[in-house]
Symmetry: C2
Subunit: 127 residues, 2 copies
DNA sequence: GTGTTGTATCAGTCCACATTGAGACAGTTT
DNA sequence: AAACTGTCTCAATGTGGACTGATACAACAC
């Protein structure tokens, strides 16, 4: 009855370092702006699905729109955000000048991945 | 004067595949829910900075709060979201039972990274 | 020319979520 | 016991961003 809701979720691991607590209140805030920007782009299902679809080569807007069941104007906005971030680029298909094809910029994708890697990988793995 | 704003941003790369356009309107939508969930967690500056701070070992809430200049209750909510996702966990420091320490769950972080890797890495690199 | 298709952009609406402010609770100190 | 510190939770507010609807434009077919 005196059970607090906070105690219910308190399931800590025992870490037995019996050294002095010695608070560090002067720690510097890490710069994570690049990783946050990359993550924000991937945090939308439509944008992530676009990047996934383009892994196996270019596709035109109508193909992507049909596959994702997304309205064309919404998809166009998401494509613009990915394009502004440099992760995808337009591609001309000579035999089909009417449609707009998009392809991934693998170098930009690798760079974004590296920024997320720096955030999530173990300390020994980084650098 | 007849310059359209769309044409201004049209800077495509020349990709000379003169095969038939052959639209694929039956493409399957890729499943990106796991990667999107991981990215959504990282898409907030506070949460990303917490993960970055915990790379070099556990820290208590007040240390993180001071370093990030975040109000404690906001930080507590972000910590709860990272904890619910399994990326961090509470840690007991015996010499300092008053404070709550958090540490990264490296296995969970590696799993999240793998999901993002699957989305962003080149096709040859995946699987 | 007109009509149709494919894509982009804009204004407006809506909603998830980050923040604020207040309060509750546990552990420590006196 | 009271006072204080550290952390968590809740209700209310504010806002970025995703969606809707409409429109504009280019390329092609007629």
């Amino acid at each position: 009855m005196t059970n607090s809701p906070a105690a219910a979720t308190m399931l800590p691991t025992s870490l037995d370092l019996s050294e002095a607590p010695c608070l560090r209140l002067d720690l510097a805030a890490p710069d994570v702006t690049a990783a946050v920007s990359a993550a924000a782009l991937l945090a939308d299902p439509t944008r992530s699905a676009v990047l996934a679809m383009l892994r196996d080569g270019p596709h035109c807007v109508c193909e992507i729109s049909a596959a994702l069941h997304e309205r064309q104007n919404n998809l166009s906005m998401h494509l613009a955000r990915l394009r502004d971030a440099g992760l995808i680029r337009r591609t001309l298909i000579e035999a089909d000048a009417r449609r707009v094809y998009y392809e991934r910029d693998e170098a930009a994708c690798a760079k974004a991945l590296a920024q997320l890697f720096d955030l999530l990988a173990k300390s020994e793995s980084r650098r």
